[in-house]
Structures are given as structure tokens and as C-alpha cells.
Amino acid sequence: MRQKLVIIGNGMAPGRMLEHLFELAPDLYEITIFNAEPRVNYDRIMLSPVLSGEKTFEDIVIHGDGWYIRNGITLYKGHRITAIDRAARTVTSDQGATAAYDRLIIATGSVPFILPVPGADLKGVISYRDLDDVDAMLLAAQSRETAVVIGGGLLGLEAAAGLKARGMDVTVLHVMPSLMERQLDPAAGYLLQRSLEARGIKVMTRAKTQALLPDAQGKVRAVALQDGTEVPATLVVMAAGIRPNAALGRLAGLEVNRGIVVDAHMRSSDPSIYSLGECAEVGGQVYGLVAPLYEMARVLAGELAREVTGAEPAPFVHQDTPTKLKVTGIDLFSVGDFADGDDREEIVLRDASAGIYKRLILKDNRIIGSVLFGDTGDAAWFTDLKKKATDVTDLRDTLIFGQAYQGGAALDPTAAVAALADDAEICGCNGVCKGTIVSAITAKGLTTLEEVRAHTKASASCGSCTGLVEKVMQLTLGDRFQAQAVKPMCGCTTHSHDDVRRLIKAKQLKSIPAVMQELGWSSSGGCAKCRPALNYYLVADWPGEYEDDYQSRFINERVHANIQKDGTYSVVPRMWGGMTSAAELRAIADVVDKFAIPAVKVTGGQRIDMLGVKKEDLPAVWEDLGKAGFVSGHAYAKGLRTVKTCVGSDWCRFGTQDSTGLGIRLEKFLWGSWTPAKVKLAVSGCPRNCAEATCKDVGVICVDSGFEIHFAGAAGLDIKGTDVLGLVPSEDEAVETITALIQMYREQGHYLERIYKWAKRIGHDEVRRQIMDDRDRRRAYFDRFVQSQAFAQTDPWSERVSGKDKHEFRPMAVLGLEAAE
């Protein structure tokens, strides 16, 4: 019978341990995991990018449900272990589940340290530890009010940057005189503070929190400092540190100091119980960064697999772990010991105007610590010299300038990587060295970053070493990597989006199979990336000739509604320019009642979203909406979405033109056209800009003398104000100019590339030259758009109501129990 292995905790350390264990001894144990969090294993270091919006939770899942099923693991989600019976060898959860073990692993991680001050339990005060905390912060960020982050360490600063990215007003309170004082010297701490302040984050050092003050509803309203200052806050994030979560170890009577005490093989004081991760204390140290935790995972897996492998794993050895801050645009690195001392020397380089600071700390002519700010390109080299305790006497004069300046080597950016030894560490999170990457590339014929990540895990955790990994690839692959420098549109082809668009026109390719055949596609039927792109290019380039390939469209564009996480759909009818009426609202209310639609929401684009509609109900919902005069709002489309307007000269005492009228005219003219990515417009009646036109793909600001046309704004993943395209005197010219701009984008944009990215790629001046300075060209774009609209402006909802694609909405067969006899 297989031995029973029970794991308490489902974080990154036990997850990595199991991956190693399955490699060494796949069938040795029957495994049960208890996870207090109600979810699968995810990459906790990537919570900051989730908070800032650069990634989603789905992106950071390490092991999906399928992984547990495939490996025969029983996973109890949302079960917190409350008792360990060491005599009977069982554990029991708060939900009443009991499991017997032969070997038990405690991997309960850490708990955030909550300052023992009055008001710490108020509403609006949260810690930063898991996905629930991130969700709470995102919810709070919607209010766009003021946040205070207590703690100027790694976690606190990442939280602050994330909340700032979400639009909050953020202040960081740090009790010490400089930020990240455990990882940075005061000079680097100062530079860090300056660059955070440049991003609009306020920083207060030497700020000792005395109490959190409530408002009348018992929600936090301010942080009171010891010096009497009150800092207003609607959200307080406690990021003052973490403590090992060793409570279960204590409860079970194991030896516990700061963490659960284990030896260098992760064994606790009970021979059948192990511990790893942040809750474990090895050699008097507890750890919070991922590299040593992964090292513990390797050791423990070897220990557990011993009876199969017959080998004792190398013991856990303490190593200094480099620190990097995951805030986009701030380059910061530190490792080792950097305190001043009589027996130490230092080498410092400062370039104030470039914001660069580098400091190396030497002892006996060997690097024992380094701090880099602003230019971290040589971090790997310095770390390597430190790890190997290389005597740097001969390099001293030029050491600080970095590896590229040593021995007269050329200033080739890859030279630094080329000079690294095979055992130099490239990926700190996963402990992957250069030699491992090179041999994986050679042995397995890897050519893409994704493949290298999948096979070696290099740059697969925090991603900050991606540039280094790419340089290693470049060195190993030589010209083959250069060939990849032109980014192919997907794995099915070596052609870039630009090449494909150009060849479609040049070779007169008018169907998806023709493109795939003529351009040498490597897959038989393309993939989910290239098929929708090709379909769009053909629709845009051959209006009236090419027949839209329905099966190459993403589901939302096939059923003209937006798929939701539970497989239901959301339905958004057009409200031209955001105007509506009693009759329309009544019709929507009736539809919501009739089909028991669970949620109705006003969108950011001035219309109404009905969420949770069952797929089979869609045609009937559209039929009812159609009777009230509604057409599809294309809220699902890579096409024209909304034209947001203000009330303009009709109502507003400041309005200079009829902005509502122009908005409606534009929407009625442009709707139905397919574009590379979604297109959102807005028209404001005066420079007060109530329709927020200056963050749209195309915006109009009405002024006394006419219409100022803006373009290339963004207010989503990126935030970017628009640029002015030009001023035109009449409404007709405004419509022609905007239409020409959109047609130019339709003809040149890469699929899924928003206008601001397209314009950046080809240059804003080039757009102005073609649209504003060249009247003939503008007119030609306009005419081509009008021609293509003749084939595009049909309401897809009424088509479906009249029976088109009805198979989409009905099951092919319903098998009852009688079929089973």
C-alpha cells in the first residue's frame, strides 16, 4: 500500500516540492492537500502585477485543477487544519475532514504583521498577502480615493505602485529614515523615494503610526502619526512585514522558535513531520523570498523520495538572495552585505542626471555586497563574482563600470552575458543557471522564449530576468534568434503581421486557405491567434469580395454578445451618443423581467449592459429589444463601440457646438465596421471635456472656431492622453477626417493593436501628414470606408432573429434518460 502524505498548505513551496517529487518518485505516495485558501496554487510573487492590472489571476495560476486530478492529489480547498494528533497521526480541518498520514508536511507560510495600534481592526484596513487582499484593494481602488500604505519595504512599495496604477491617491508611511533599509543603503533609498515621488506617490519617512481613526460609520478615515499629523485615508494597507505562521507547529507541540524548527533536510522535531516555506526555520533563519523556498522544496522532495532514489539529497545551505523591486520602470537590485565597516572598502558610481547609482562593497578584495539603482544590467555579473568570491584586484579600476568595460571587450549588450560562466545564475527565483538554459536550447531545439520558460522555468516566475534569458537565447541561437526578431504573428508562420497584410494585397489573396497555402503556414488549419487576424485582414482588404468566415471569429463576434466567466452572455444595445428615452428604458426593463436577467449595469460608454443572459435566450432577447428599435451595440466587437458625448450646446451653458448631434452622427455613420481592435470615440462640447474625449481612440473637442480632432488616447491597460490631429471648421469635415483616420487604421493596423499603438508604431506625424496635409489621400480613405460600409452595416441581431445561424443557439440533440434505457 502506498504511504499517505498529507500537506497542510498549498502555496508555491509545496507546489514546487511536489513537482520535484513526481519526477523522482511518481507513485510513492498517496497525497492529500489542505488549503485554507479556496483556490489552486498560484504565483504569489505576481500579485503585484495583478494589483497594477498588468496581469490577471488566470495568468498567475501555477497548477490548475487539472494538475491535481492528473496527479491523483486530493485537494481540500477552503479547509483550515485546526488539529494535529501526532499519536494517531491524523489531521482535522475546520470543516470536519480528517485525514491520516504516514508523513506530514506543514507549509502554512506566513501571516502579515498587523501593527498593534488602536483601530487596526477598522473597516478599510487590510493586509497584503493573498488574492483576497488584492481583490479587496481593487474594490477599494474603484472609489479613486486616498490610500495609505504602512510599510516602505518591498511589499508595501509594490502595493503602493499598484494602487497608484489603479488611480488612487497613495501615501507610503515608513517608520525608518529611508525606504527598504534592509535591502538598500540610504543613497539608493533616497533615489527610490525620488522616483516614486515622480510617479505621484507620496512618501513620508520616520512616520510612526499611533492610531487609525474611524469615521461615523466605523470605517477608517485617517492615520494618526506620533508627531500629531493626520494623514487622510479611505483604505489602509498594512505591509509592515510578515511573521512565520508556525501556530500549528506550536499547537502540535513541535519545537518552534521564530518558525517551526527544522534541520537542513526539513525534518522537524517529530520524525514523521516536515516543514518548508516561510513557516520553517532552518539554521536559525526564516525566509520570505522565493529562491530559498524553492531550494527547501528541492531538499524535501529528495528527502521524501529517498527510499526510491537511495540518495541523500544535498542539505539546505543559506545563500544571500538578491532583491528586486517589481515596479514597472524602476530598476533596482541589491544583494549581500552592504553595511559600512572598518574592514570594508567600497566603490561608488553616481550619475545624478541619469538617476544611476551603483555601489560595490569589498572585503579582502572580494565583493560581499552590491546595490544598483537605475542600471541593473551588471547585476548578474556582480552576483556571480560575489558568489564565487573572485579576487577582483585586477579589475578594480574599471569594475564599477560593469562587465562590458573589462578586458577591452566591445560594448555589445550581449557581451556581458557571453562572458558569464555556465554556472552563473540567470533566474534567481528558480535557480536556473546559464548552462542549463543553453543546454536546454541545444538539446531540445527551443527557439522561443515561451519554450525556454516551459522547459527550464527561467524567467517564468517574476519575469524580471526576461532580458537576460533573451540574450542567452541570442548567443546560443545566433542568426536563428535574429530571425525571430521579426515577431511572427503566431506559431503557424514566420511572417509578421505587416508581411501578411502586405502579401494579402500584393498576391491578391482572398481566402484564409489561400493565405495559408501561399505564405507557407506550418499548421493545417491555423490557430486561435492567426485565424481571427486573417479573417479581419481579408474582410478589411476585400470588402464585398471576401465572405466573412464565421468559424474564424471569437465566440463573442459569432453570437454578438460577450461571454462571461460562467458561460452566460451579456447584451448591450446601442444608445446612439448615449441618448435614450422612456420607451427604450421601459423596453429594457421588460426584457430584464421577462428573461429574469440577473444583473443590469450602466457601462462606461453611456449605455446599458444586461448580464447573465443564457445563450439559448439570446435570439428572443434580441427580438424583444429589436421591437423597441434597438440594434446591437457591438460591445463584443473589434469594431466601433461607443461614441460618448456631453449634452453640448443644446443644454449646457458652456457648450460651443452640438456635441451630442455630432456624436450620434458619427456613431450612425461608423457602426458596423470591423477594425483591428475596438474603437471608442467621444465628443465634448467645450474644452471642459465632460465626455472625456482626450483619452479615447478618437476624440473631438468642440471650440468656437470649429472642431479639434484628437487621436491615439488610451485609458485601459495603458493610460495616455490623446494627441491633436488638427482643427477643422465644419461638422462635415470633422466626419470626413475622423472616417479617413479610422480607414487608415483599418488598412494598416495589426489585429488587436489599438489606435494608440498603431499610431506610435508608424508615427503621429505620418498620420497627420496623410490625413490633414494630403486632401486627396484623405478623400480616398474616406471613399474606401464608405464603400466597405455598404457590406458591413447590417444589424446582426435582427439577422439572427430572422433565423441566421440558428444552430448556434440550440443544442443538436437532447439525450434523455430513456436513451439509456
Binding site: W67, A528, F554, I563, G816, L817, A819
Partner: protein, 116 residues
């Protein structure tokens, strides 16, 4: 309503399923997605992605693969196995085409009923 033999249940016509598309068959224990490839092969998989439960029948069919509409996991229609770095599998049911008609193995009912 469906013609039946001992081992196979007739579901409908091949042409009821769009080329490079899918249709859903409802069973007492959940939905099964019937896929038709560009080569007119037919495959049956549970209509539920192991990642987040996405309806695979709504995905884009390319070659012998389907991409889940929710988070772009890709599955081999013949084996039900997730492709690339994703790990997981979807249950498959034998399906066949004969004389332009599509049949599903009767095991679809026995197995699924037993599962629940």
C-alpha cells in the same frame, strides 16, 4: 427520437455541425460538445474546460484542436489533452460518421450517469 443501436446513438446529420465548428448535445449529466473539423472528422468532448469550466463548444476549431473561449487553453480533439505548457485533460467519447450521420457511443450515457 434518436435511432439507436446497441452501442451507438444517432445524433443527427454531419451537416448540422458547421465545418470547423461545434454543436452541443445535452445529456442528463451535462453537455457534450460535438466538433467537426475542416476534414469532416467528428469528435466528442465534455463541454467543460478543466481550467475554469469554459464551454469548449464555443471555442475556435483549428486543425484537430479547439481553443477554449475563456482563457485560450488548447485541447487535442482526438485525445482531450491540453497542449503546450497547460496541464489537464477533457473526457472524450467515441463518435463516428456513417452515411452522413453522426453517432455517439452509448457509453456517453452509462459513464456520465455513473460519474454523478
Amino acid at each position: 427520437m434518436n435511432a439507436m443501436t446497441r452501442d451507438w446513438i444517432e445524433i443527427g446529420l454531419l451537416t448540422d455541425i458547421p465545418k470547423e465548428g461545434a454543436r452541443v448535445v445535452k445529456t442528463p449529466a451535462g453537455c457534450v460538445a460535438l466538433f467537426r473539423t475542416g476534414e469532416d472528422e467528428v469528435f466528442a468532448l465534455d463541454d467543460r474546460c478543466p481550467h475554469k469550466g469554459g464551454p469548449l463548444s464555443q471555442g475556435i476549431v483549428h486543425g484537430r484542436f479547439v481553443t477554449c473561449p475563456l482563457h485560450n487553453w488548447v485541447f487535442d480533439l482526438a485525445t482531450g489533452l491540453a497542449q503546450g505548457a497547460d496541464e489537464g485533460a477533457v473526457a472524450t467519447t467515441p463518435a463516428r460518421v456513417e452515411g452522413g450521420r453522426v453517432y455517439l457511443a452509448r457509453s456517453v450515457l452509462a459513464r456520465r450517469a455513473a460519474d454523478d
